[in-house]
Point group: D2
Chain length 210, copies 4
């Protein structure tokens, strides 16, 4: 039973690492992803379109590592191989999920969108208080971005049919972990479309930038 | 198959939130914990003693919230009730797991030991590069401290028989998630005791503070 | 010509490092301070009392270093000697400038109040947007706390007759630097008392915690 | 009298905001700069060339704000007008001070290079411990980057004849403030060239990435 409204204050749609590698073979892009990438892309498109129709800001994250490997940190010590290298096939954003000139494109070097980026600067500028996450991996970049947002007092929602994990089991475990943090955080794209519909433009512009 | 040695550079033993509430009823302390708290305390004591014998630094975290509730952030929006309030029974550190005057006691307001604390200042001062985590909850404070340490380039190990989760299923899912990040991260207390034994004092003092 | 109102949204009074060492000899406490410490203490008392009368939150910072010296970082590479050691005379807060149980006492290891502390957690909990700084040193802890607050989008004010520098010249240079960042930031205690007077309790409680 | 060697461990040359606006009129680019920009550019070129000859890493910062103004924070509340807008004349890096493909180009939204960027990730990857700062403004981006580096335990040096302030007085006050933090921090380009000369490639590669 959720203890907070679905959207509190001003929402932002956050598209996490929707890169073409999500639909490629792990042996080619270094990371295993559960099936269904192209379906998730299609559903994310619907959410992005709905957000744009309502002037809800959209942030597009892209994980990119320099070719020298200098910024991988400990990311190659675990299950993932070399991944998301600048200029390599699979690293580019999905063609249908790219920012307009007025939207936000943030390159990151770590899983969490809060580490080593200007995400917090953008969120403060927007006066955002609810983050709606889609993309991948559910159990890595989505989960750790959620945890960081939660620990910085944001309301966070995850669209279960728009996120994919490194495996189905890890996807489900991560959804469960996020629901533990904020009851009602896990939702589906239909619920988000409905919530966006009920956000009048007036309401949104009242959530002003301080 | 671990890709890195068990201990790289200078190790630090990190005791996460070993508070007396871990052995109390959830209805009294706000948080469910899987059975076995007192056994975990006993095993943690062995590790702390071994660390002290080898001059390996020990950090004791304690989650504490001000009675006004001002610093809970979103922590009451999920599965946990009011918890770890200053001055309330269950918040104090386990009597057998408290810092010596020369050790480190760090109060935190969030799950991750890196948020809102001087943990990084201490770790830099110590020249630490491997963190060995014990305590709880496996799937909350331990997991998110691990993720933050990992994303700050530390080598991190979790002692599976010295950490407890909010449920057995979540405990196991969190261990799996951490092993995904660093292969070989999940170990048991016997392995740590053995590794500490093979650390000569000479080796340790060579890992100098810069 | 200030471009913003003197107080925007909810104010917080921030007392920076008003420790007894400010009135002692540099050769004893490691840090030079320009004359006038006891006068500044007296004026700070007036502001603290006025804040309490209006339910304006007060944060008391205290710089403290562990006796081992582990957390000094590079602080001994410059003009300052060993300073603010835990348990040593000069480190304790001025007796007349100590937090009530309902106020905030934050120990810090660095100059900026934002580094290695839970200050941001507290400020978010309070819904604070304007910080009013008093204490010392104008050119070190006050200046760098100001710069960090400014870069995190807070409105910041400095009470010139309630802050003291490492020298009069550095005090004045730091005030000039802060005025460069936010026009109208530099004020005096009379102006703050007047502004507090015009804050009705109603206004303040409207600046609610989200 | 400096208490530390001029270069400790692995050095990095950091070129702060050497953008063409530094040589333009304040009424056109929003920021006053003291005379001598083109001379500073020329001297910076010498340092960059010397660093490249020795395989010393070079980081090029560029302050850029989105045209919507969303990420200015409080930067327009003080002495500076609208500045460093993406795509506007004056925002681009000086043509002679641009990164090679193997070097580091970091866009920032705030004064300090540590806020909202991946600078710390890069510095850890490089195993850097001494930062040598050139560029501008001495009293804003250079000073606050210095303060943040200092508070994160880096050794920091500022090349006085390669940095320019918002005025000569503020330039000098900022140099004095940085020398207060680390004795011997203020140097000139001749000293840096000499120090680079005495760094053998062997020494440098010994300062390895952990």
């Amino acid at each position: 039973m959720p203890r907070q409204p679905f959207i509190v204050g001003r929402p932002v749609l956050v598209v996490v690492d929707m890169q073409t590698g999500g639909g490629m073979l792990a042996e080619d892009v270094g990371i295993d992803v559960m099936p269904g990438h192209s379906d998730r892309v299609r559903r994310c498109e619907l959410l992005v379109r709905a957000a744009r129709d309502r002037d809800i800001p959209v942030v597009f994250f892209q994980e990119v590592h320099r070719p020298s490997g200098i910024d991988f940190g400990r990311e190659l010590d675990g299950a993932e191989g070399v991944h998301c290298v600048e200029g390599v096939a699979g690293t580019e954003l999905e063609p249908s999920l790219r920012p307009l000139d007025t939207e936000f494109h943030i390159v990151k070097r770590r899983y969490s969108g809060f580490i080593g980026t200007d995400f917090e600067i953008v969120l403060r500028g927007l006066g955002a208080s609810t983050l709606i996450l889609v993309g991948g991996l559910t159990d890595v970049c989505v989960h750790y971005t959620f945890a960081d947002a939660h620990q910085r007092d944001f309301y966070v929602r995850v669209v279960a049919d728009c996120v994919g994990g490194s495996s189905l089991a890890r996807h489900e475990a991560a959804l469960d972990a996020m629901e533990y943090l904020q009851a009602g955080a896990i939702c589906d794209s239909a619920a988000v479309l409905c919530a966006f519909d009920s956000q009048s433009r007036t309401t949104l512009t009242e959530g002003t930038v301080r």
